[in-house]
Amino acid sequence: MRIDKDLVAASATPLVLGILAGGDLHGYAIVKRVAELSDGRMQWTDGMLYPLLHRLERLGYVEATWGTSEAGRRRKHYSLTTAGREALAERQAQWGVVSDALRQVWQDVRTGPQALRPAEGWA
């Protein structure tokens, strides 16, 4: 299954913030975690993650520090700030509303024909 591009884009920020809430990570580790969480079904264009991370950094949601990888190379780690936690809570609330509404709508679709049957009979 291929996930729609817009959906991937919309969910990127809350996903990144949520993943970083679990601990500091570098970019590649975030991408790996996303693949893990979605069983590999959510494929990001990896390069796009970094402009997003930089935007979150500019907004003060994440903080970046340079460290070194196991191989001794420069590696940038990102961690969630207090403002980032607040933003995450806000996003969670928003997505809660959206998924709630979707669930109800889909329940209606599933039970819809039955609910309509009496009306049809009446007509």
Partner: protein, 452 residues
């Protein structure tokens, strides 16, 4: 352990390719390379050979054009330092076509000046209309380049037209022979401010709400001022030399100079400077921010001296509106220093010494202004308000509000309580206040003060 030289060469090549993108700085390249290597290591551990792993990893990274465009969107300040057009962006025009269109607009502006000069002998009419006949050509050039939405363009043109009608049709009462009244001068000096911000709307391609575009316009304005000064200097030199040589052979250059050279050279210089700022492909840093680094400490010294002199130096009761106007000029200078160093600052850098220096600068300006304002308010209470005093006082308060809040946010930033984005955003969010105030002076002051 197998030999990875081919892989290393491939990564090097990929790095070099990426490094050519203006929006991607070397720290980003390091970050992306770390990602690429992580991906390759995982893929080779999964059984792929170096070549395959490299290809898959590069593919997953995404098209470099698209990725660097995304970087450009986030870091428009970097692009500003180098090249204005993102390579590969659709609609990128060749520079000579750009220049040809620009020269046509410059010629139009020159003709408009000629027509204005021919149409009237009244100097005041020329002065108050100069901006109205020149700036539309600059705005027109930006409109041609950026294609703003027709609705936005229509609104901008309407506002400009209302201003033009006001400054020309208000029944201003001259103060004396050859001496225009206060409100006439105020309207003529404030209208260009509003017009300039309207040019900014076209500069931003109609996206006047966008804070990054507003910051771009601030950068543009600063660079334009520097380029214009340099062009004027060079032009002055050329005119001086021509004058010298022609006077030796007793040809009078005066008529040609004031009749033809200046009317075309002055608006031409403005438009060519605008084109240079837009098109410069240099890797040179912007000059305005460099100047701020030099002048910020010097200005602090100046402000400290002013503060001491104002406090101990003598009776402030004798001061007149000139003090207010000078104070406005000082605040504008401080604001420019602040704005241009903010516009060039790396938004990701941690608070540093210069941020503290800047805070001291703003603090000193506020202290000096507080002393001057106290003196002025007592004087105004005694002698009442004139149009000039009200305009100067109003501008002072508009500037003061800008600086006080900037100081507050700046303090929050150096203490690590505010992201830099908040400091930056405040500057651009406040810009329309200047346009609004200038519009009030142009449109409401004349009727309020009886057109005197």
């Amino acid at each position: 352990m197998s030999d990875h030289t081919t892989l290393e060469a491939q990564i090097d090549q990929w790095r070099a390719y990426l490094q050519r993108r203006q929006a991607v700085v070397s720290a980003d390249v390091d970050e992306l390379e770390d990602h690429l290597r992580g991906q390759i290591a995982d893929l080779t551990a999964g059984g792929l050979d170096d070549d395959e792993a490299f290809l898959v990893a590069v593919k997953r990274m995404g098209g470099l054009d698209a990725v660097s465009r995304e970087f450009a969107r986030e870091h428009s300040d970097r692009l500003w330092k180098q090249l204005v057009l993102v390579p590969g962006e659709p609609g990128a025009r060749t520079w000579w076509r750009d220049l040809a269109v620009l020269l046509a607009f410059a010629l139009g502006a020159g003709l408009a000046i000629k027509i204005l000069v021919a149409a009237t002998a009244d100097e005041m009419v020329m002065v108050r209309n100069a901006a109205f006949v020149v700036l539309p050509f600059l705005a027109g050039w930006f409109a041609w380049k950026r294609r703003p939405a027709p609705v936005v363009a229509a609104v901008v043109v309407t506002v400009a037209a209302v201003l033009a009608l006001a400054v020309n049709l208000y029944p201003f009462v001259p103060a004396g022979e050859g001496d225009p009244g206060m409100t006439a001068v105020l309207a003529a000096t404030h209208a260009p401010v509003v017009l300039w911000l309207l040019v900014g709307v076209f500069y931003a391609g109609g996206a006047w709400r966008s804070h990054p575009r507003r910051m771009d316009f601030v950068r543009f304005t600063g660079e334009l001022a520097v380029y214009l000064a340099l062009i004027a200097l060079g032009g002055g030199l050329l005119i001086g030399l021509t004058f010298g040589v022609l006077s030796l052979v007793e040809v009078d250059f005066e008529a040609a100079l004031s009749g033809w050279v200046l009317p075309f050279a002055m608006p031409g210089a403005l438009l060519v400077a605008a084109w240079l700022v837009e098109a410069k492909k240099s890797v040179v840093e912007n000059i305005a921010p460099v100047l701020t680094r030099v002048f910020t400490p010097l200005t602090i010294v100046m402000l400290a001296a002013m503060f001491v002199v104002l406090l101990v130096g003598g009776p402030l009761t004798a001061v007149d509106r000139e003090l207010l106007i000078l104070m406005d000029a000082v605040l504008v200078l401080v604001l420019a220093l602040l704005l241009y160093s903010i516009s060039a600052r790396d938004p990701h850098a941690r608070p540093g010494v210069f941020d503290w220096v800047q805070l001291v600068l703003v603090g000193a300006a506020l202290a000096v202004d507080a002393v001057a304002l106290t003196a002025m308010v007592t004087r105004i209470a005694e002698f009442g308000l004139t149009a000039n005093k009200t305009a100067a006082l109003g501008l002072n308060l508009v500037l003061l509000a800008h600086l006080v809040w900037a100081a507050r946010l700046g303090l929050g930033f150096v203490r690590g309580r505010q992201p830099f984005a908040a400091v930056e955003r405040w500057q651009t969010a406040y810009l329309p206040a200047y346009g609004a105030w200038a519009a009030v002076v142009v449109l409401l002051f004349p009727p309020l003060f009886g057109f005197a």
